[in-house]
């Protein structure tokens, strides 16, 4: 047995094994008995993992005014298994809850997990926190976690800013970031920029003694991470203009959206009736949400992007531009208001006839635009109505109708501009023509637009043929970090010369002797606009208006819709005009008009 000579090697091997085992025992003795940070925990005191919630990013308007900031509040947390010998009556008294309330909360916490922290009472004010903090050492198993709440100093822009709320279990399941009780943006730009706003959570490991007193950080904070605040948002909103708009729209249903055509930045975005965004914050959110949600005039509905309205006469220039582009009319083409050709759409106004496109826009002549539409729908360059309709629709979509504009606001709807197949289905293939769908020529019938689409269309005209997606946020984190909407130039399929023709017509809406908005022209400012009085299914007309100014170098494009209020020239036009004045001159001189608008209550029309 040759190997016997190596038998003493067993000593080497056994010694090595024992030495390593001994080293392990020393190491265990060190971390389990000697190291102080561990021995504290050894007395059955639990390390407390306190999440450091980052403050959400702030939101500024275009002039650096604060639209949203954060306020500190405190959540009282509980770890049910650690609750021992607690004076429940004292807690109830401090929090102002009943004994039943206490047990209910405790049961909920235990159901979630007996060993994990859950919120016992959320969003305790600073004052109450002061009282509780003093006595906290007597409430074993309870501790306080700071959080932040959103605050809206000017109480404006509810639909635009949106709100935040607790994450749903589904959202928790889908993400590594969110834990039960975390907050997430639910609507508006709070939702769209959730990732940028939320920041990065931190974690602090604290040690507590048997009396639930904080006795310092664990291993000198070696494993601690601090929270990183979310990025700030710099929006293109003009807070003063937004506030003014909300004032003008008080007691009216509808929407105002204004854009800076040069960039696509939204200056003002409101849906009326609105609500104070501070209502949907913190402990009162649930209750107030219920009230708002059940209100029959639907204050929660974001009409600016979800309201789909018939554009009415504001749509007429779009039709004219397509006609000019396709060459079926020229700037000199005149149509008569009366006679067999104009039937079945008759003129409601008293004016010279026949008239050209300039006069037709100025006076919003229905028969003229019907004739233009009929000319388009009988363009000899195409074989049939379906083809002509498809071309017409393609031009309109290039102006932003019938599609989403890829704005940064959640839940944008795309209006309605039906493809020809829809008419094939309704009337049968080849069995429909210009006459069948004549309402489209004056912005009625199937066509529906959101206020955002209408203002975008005004902006496209103001730019003479292009637009950037309308958007709220221009930079994230710091002012130099621009959002990328500036790279998304959309070009309409209409030549500049034709757009100039309709702009001339829209100017005369303000300046012409028969212009429908001539009463609201601002001295020393060149303006272009168009009224619309849109029939609705309720039988009452919506008052619509789009405009932009100054005509030469447009600074603002605007759309105003006042639901069931009557003529466009009666409500929407003056409101739009006041808004333009406010934005460009900062003060409004026409006090009488202003007062009339602010004081009018059109809710019960």
């Amino acid at each position: 047995m040759a190997s016997r000579i190596y038998a003493d090697r067993k000593i080497v091997i056994i010694t090595t094994f024992l030495v390593i085992g001994f080293i392990y025992l020393i190491r265990l003795f060190y971390i389990q008995v000697i190291d102080r940070s561990y021995t504290l925990s050894a007395n059955n005191n639990v390390l407390r993992y306190v999440t450091q919630f980052p403050a959400r990013g702030l939101i500024y308007d275009r002039n650096g005014k604060l639209l949203v900031y954060n306020e500190a509040v405190y959540d009282l947390m509980v770890i049910p298994r650690q609750v021992k010998d607690v004076d429940t009556a004292e807690i109830c008294r401090l929090l102002g809850i009943t004994a039943e309330g206490y047990h209910e909360r405790m049961k909920k916490a235990r159901d979630y997990s007996p060993m994990l922290a859950s919120a016992f009472e959320k969003q305790i004010s600073k004052e109450t926190y002061g009282y509780i903090e003093e006595k906290l050492y007597r409430f074993r198993g309870f501790f306080v976690q700071p959080r932040t709440l959103r605050k809206y100093p000017m109480s404006i822009g509810a639909h635009l800013l949106g709100y935040i709320g607790e994450v749903t279990p589904v959202q928790v399941g889908k993400s590594d970031y969110y834990k039960q009780g975390d907050y997430i943006g639910i609507s508006g730009i709070e939702r769209a920029y959730e990732k940028e706003l939320r920041g990065i959570k931190g974690l602090k490991i604290r040690m507590v003694d048997v009396f639930n007193r904080d006795v310092g950080s664990f291993e000198n904070g070696r494993y601690d991470t601090s929270a990183v605040m979310g990025g700030d948002l710099y929006t293109g909103i003009d807070a003063d203009l937004q506030q003014y708009g909300e004032k003008l729209m008080a007691n009216k249903r509808g929407s105002i959206v204004a854009i800076d055509p040069a960039t696509g930045e939204i200056l003002c975005f409101l849906s009326s009736p609105g609500y104070d965004p501070n209502l949907l914050v913190g402990r009162v959110r649930g209750k107030n949400y219920g009230i708002l949600n059940n209100d029959p005039i639907k204050p929660l509905l974001n009409r600016a992007i979800m309201g789909q309205y018939p554009p009415g006469s504001t749509f007429k220039m779009a039709n004219d531009m397509v006609g000019l582009q396709m060459g079926v009319i020229t700037k000199n083409t005149r149509y008569s208001c009366q006679g067999p050709g104009s039937s079945p759409i008759k003129c409601t106004h008293n004016h010279v006839s026949p008239l050209d496109v300039y006069m037709a826009i100025q006076q919003s002549c229905n028969p003229f635009h019907w004739q233009v539409f009929r000319a388009i729908m009988s363009d000899p360059n195409y074989e049939n109505t379906k083809q002509r309709y498809d071309v017409w629709r393609k031009h309109l979509m290039s102006m932003g109708f019938g599609r989403k504009l890829n704005t940064d606001l959640a839940f944008e709807l795309k209006g309605n501009l039906p493809p020809s197949e829809v008419f094939d289905k309704i009337y049968g293939v080849g069995r429909w023509n210009a006459m069948t769908i004549r309402s489209l020529s004056i912005g009625q019938g199937e066509v529906l637009t959101t206020p955002l689409q209408l203002v975008n269309y005004a902006s496209m005209v103001a730019n003479r043929g292009f637009f950037y997606p309308p958007h709220v946020v221009r930079s994230v984190g710091n002012e130099k970090n621009k959002t990328n909407f500036g790279n998304q130039k959309n070009v309409a399929s209409i030549n500049v010369e034709y757009i100039d023709i309709v702009i001339q017509g829209m100017r005369e809406v303000f300046e012409g002797s028969h212009g429908t908005a001539r009463a609201y022209k601002i001295d020393s400012l060149s303006m272009a606009g168009k009224t619309g009085t849109a029939q609705t299914s309720s039988g009452k007309d919506n008052s619509n208006f789009i405009a932009f100014a100054p005509v030469e170098t447009p600074k603002i494009a605007i759309c105003v819709i006042v639901e069931e209020a009557g003529f466009g020239s009666r409500w929407a036009a003056p409101i739009a005009s006041l808004m333009i004045e406010k934005y460009l001159f900062h003060t409004v001189k026409r006090k009488e008009i202003e007062e009339n608008m602010i004081n009018a209550n059109l809710l019960n029309n």
């Binding site: 056994i14 561990y38 060993m115």
Partner: protein, 419 residues
């Protein structure tokens, strides 16, 4: 009946008792690690602890079957058993199921089988068979190469399954070679290379070189300072420094990014949230918070809050440390050492080379698992995912370790027979 009695008479009771103690303590700790109020019974088959009970019962049956097998069978069939497991290791690469990044499992109905676990005793058998053969001559080149090949083959196949931890286990069988007469310097060299490589990757190479220099100066202080010793130490310093530098160079310049990441994570150097560094921190917190007496059964908060991942498998020792404290940890470590030392002492009393070599193989493998697994949980070893024998939750590992041990028990009970 008489023969039956004969079979059991020479069974080593101490080893059986140590085995049973470890398995039962392991089971209780698995229960504590994954305990939840709704399934409070330790026999609840929907929970890991209930299933572990099934593994324990089946392991005992397997152990009994091994005892009832003729002792000569394992020597005679060492190669077929080895060949069979190698085949399984190849097949699993193609037909296996991927769990946690390793393609090393066969899914059979409701449970998964890991052939790598069984390859451990198969390889030990083959190695013992080869080294104990009558025509074995350690001076021949062939006799030096073939044992290494026997070890390398399963290791490479397991590496291909992406299970680095299980592959490294085979290195521990070098101890068997050492006991059989391989020069100790080779073993030392191997250990030195491993330690230097890890140090070079963990720390700044210049610091490592400086530490080597200080250590060698220390040696020089105690040694006789003649020319020969000084030159030797200088030579060792130069070679070690160059080695450290080249490991560092190879790591930085030759490896791909993802390979670097894997090594960094393996060494606990790179912390991704669910990665190695996090586990070790949490594991140390759990064990360290146990204190001298421990927090008591089912009172461990760290393990129960799920701060320690894999707490019922690779990190089962955390529960021992947290709930049973220094006292309990010491008991478990002493049990393991007693088991392993007992195996070595028993191996030395064998008359057959095969049994002795196999015994050393068992001791080496068990010790390596003990060394790496517990070292990892207390932050002394890099995170290498291998189970703690008899302790960690899992059917494959418990079965395989049981067979590994019981083959040796059987060989030992047969030691008085003629060979």
């Amino acid at each position: 009946m008489k023969e039956q009695k004969g079979i059991f008479r020479h069974i080593d009771r101490t080893l059986i008792l140590l085995y049973l103690a470890l398995v039962l303590i392991g089971w209780v700790n698995i229960y504590a690690a994954v305990y939840n109020d709704e399934h409070a019974s330790i026999f609840d088959l929907s929970q890991s602890y209930g299933k572990q009970m099934l593994w324990i019962v089946t392991s005992l049956i397997l152990g009994l079957m091994v005892i009832l097998t003729d002792a000569k069978f394992f020597n005679a069939f060492a190669y077929p058993i080895y060949g069979g497991t190698i085949l399984l290791l190849v097949v699993v690469l193609f037909a296996g199921k991927e769990i946690a990044g390793s393609k090393s499992w066969f899914q059979i109905g409701g449970f998964a089988l890991q052939p790598a676990e069984f390859a451990k005793f198969a390889t030990t058998l083959a190695l013992a068979h080869y080294l104990s053969a009558l025509d074995f001559d350690s001076r021949k080149r062939k006799s030096q190469i073939i044992p290494l090949f026997i070890l390398a083959l399963p290791a490479v196949l397991i590496l291909l399954q992406n299970d680095t931890g299980s592959a490294i286990v085979y290195a521990s069988l070098a101890l068997v070679l050492y006991r059989q007469g391989m020069p100790g310097s080779i073993l030392l060299l191997g250990v030195a290379v491993a330690i230097l490589s890890i140090m070079a990757l963990l720390f700044n190479p210049y610091i490592v070189i400086a530490v080597i220099g200080v250590l060698l100066l220390g040696f020089a202080f105690f040694m006789r300072r003649n020319m020969r010793n000084v030159l030797t130490l200088a030579g060792i310093f130069v070679v070690a420094s160059m080695f450290v530098q080249s490991v560092n160079y190879a790591f930085e310049n030759i490896l791909e990014f993802h390979q670097k990441t894997r090594i960094n994570v393996l060494l606990g150097k790179q912390i991704d949230l669910k990665g190695a560094g996090y586990n070790v921190n949490q594991s140390k917190i759990a064990i360290g918070s146990g204190g001298f007496w421990g927090k008591g059964f089912l009172n461990g908060t760290q393990t129960k809050f799920n701060f320690v991942p894999e707490q019922s498998t690779d990190f089962i020792f955390c529960t021992v440390g947290e709930e049973w404290g220094f006292v309990g940890s010491t008991a478990v470590i002493l049990l393991f050492l007693a088991l392993i030392v007992r195996i070595i002492l028993m191996a030395e009393r064998q008359r057959s080379d095969f049994s002795r070599i196999y015994g050393y193989g068992v001791a080496s493998i068990l010790f390596f698992h003990f060394f790496v697994n517990i070292g990892m949980t207390i932050g002394l070893m890099p995170v290498i995912g291998i189970p703690l024998p008899f302790f960690s939750y899992g059917g494959s590992s418990l079965w395989a370790f049981t067979i590994l041990l019981f083959i040796f028990i059987k060989q030992d009970s047969n030691r008085l027979q003629l060979v």
